[in-house]
Subunit: 241 residues, 2 copies
């Protein structure tokens, strides 16, 4: 949220004066046919009215009429480990920040500093999702939109989020499990296959494909940049007017 400084009101007054006085001088000239007096009247008008304009602006700062709260949205990226969620979500976040709307990035990794992930069983994951839901709600209450990336493998958990938040946009980042394994630069799939990581989505735990995703990104077909452009366009069209 911003506040309008005194200086902004003064500069607006001067900028407005330029257009307004030009109009006045023209009108007087048309009515009276005397350019000298028209210009003189313009000069007197310009100086008095900058002050009155400034006062008018300051009064309007206190009036709420016609101010609309920005509607927050929640972009929810879901997909297999290493499907490309974080990469695309980061790009989308970067693009959306330029629009100068209140916006927060929530990634499964970073959020753990705030909300500890207590375990990886089905119940633990669902409980964790509810907590994330509370965080999004808190932000939305203050007009902050969110860009979230979580594997979020269970339909039930994604449904909880959808029910908790406003303007939910599920982005399913679709990638073949074999492709993800090939991208395995962190070695997590390797470890999971060896049984060193338990309940690993795609290996030892299920990933339930979304049935109602607003956007599906097929990472075999389009690049992260193209995907981000597509998502940003969607958000702009639906939520930023």
């Amino acid at each position: 949220m911003y506040k309008e400084t005194n200086l902004r009101s003064i500069v607006k007054g001067i900028s407005w004066r330029f257009f307004a006085t030009a109009t006045t001088v023209t009108i007087i000239y048309v009515f009276f046919g005397r350019l000298d007096l028209a210009v003189a009247a313009g000069v007197v008008e310009a100086t008095t009215k900058v002050v009155i304009y400034w006062a008018h602006e300051r009064i309007w700062q206190r009036i709420k009429f016609g101010r609309k709260r920005i509607e927050p949205f929640n972009l929810w990226f879901t997909g297999l480990p290493l499907s490309g969620k974080t990469t695309i979500a980061d790009k989308v976040y970067e693009e959306l920040q330029r629009l100068d709307i209140p916006l927060e990035r929530i990634d499964s990794k970073d959020v753990r500093e705030m909300i500890p992930n207590i375990g990886y069983t089905r119940e633990d994951r669902i409980r964790h999702m509810k907590r994330i839901g509370h965080l999004i709600q808190t932000l939305q209450k203050n007009s902050v939109s969110t860009v979230c990336s979580f594997i979020s493998p269970y339909r039930k958990a994604r449904k909880i989020i959808r029910e908790m938040v406003k303007n939910n946009i599920v982005v399913y980042v679709k990638a073949d499990i074999e492709t993800c394994k090939k991208r395995d630069y962190k070695g997590v799939y390797q470890k999971a296959l060896k049984g060193e990581i338990k309940n690993f989505t795609g290996i030892s735990d299920v990933y339930e494909e979304p049935k109602h995703a607003e956007i599906i990104i097929d990472t075999e077909k389009i690049s992260p940049k193209e995907a981000a452009d597509l998502i940003v366009k969607y958000v702009k069209r639906k939520y930023i007017k």
Copy 2:
């Protein structure tokens, strides 16, 4: 955050026209001494300029100059169990909401739905504080101010919060331990004395009085209402101009 609707710009244009045309008509009358023509020019001016004013407003919506981000603050209520933190913090939150600034209430009880409190040892409490600190940071990044109430018995934990957040205002809600025990409507002091609750602040765990509290509320001397007024006054003077 708000956006300015088209309607607001139009109504501002009309409201401005009232003051501006009155000025113009007066100036023309002074210069030319003819009220009939002055009024006619005024009528033509009024109609053209509402439109130009509207366009001028819409252009200025896109200009960032002179817009200042609102500085968020963090009110941090600390004190013994049942000292009156929550009561006063609730009143302060209610008052501050009228100022129409982005504001969030964080109470030790309610926040557990989002950030689970894993234990009550010194380390657990400090870890919990850090998580709360992350939450406040996230909100502050989006210009949201916070009203927090936590027993927060350790100097170290309060120091962590002070270092993590901007514009921290510690409010020490001071009450005698005997007074708190008398107020024990929840029966928690009773249980703690019997040893049924472990690490209970004031009984089986220490409360380290703040040395650098910005505001000290002596609940033996002033009422919650008076305390709230005093705190709101402080916040307005320092952070809301």
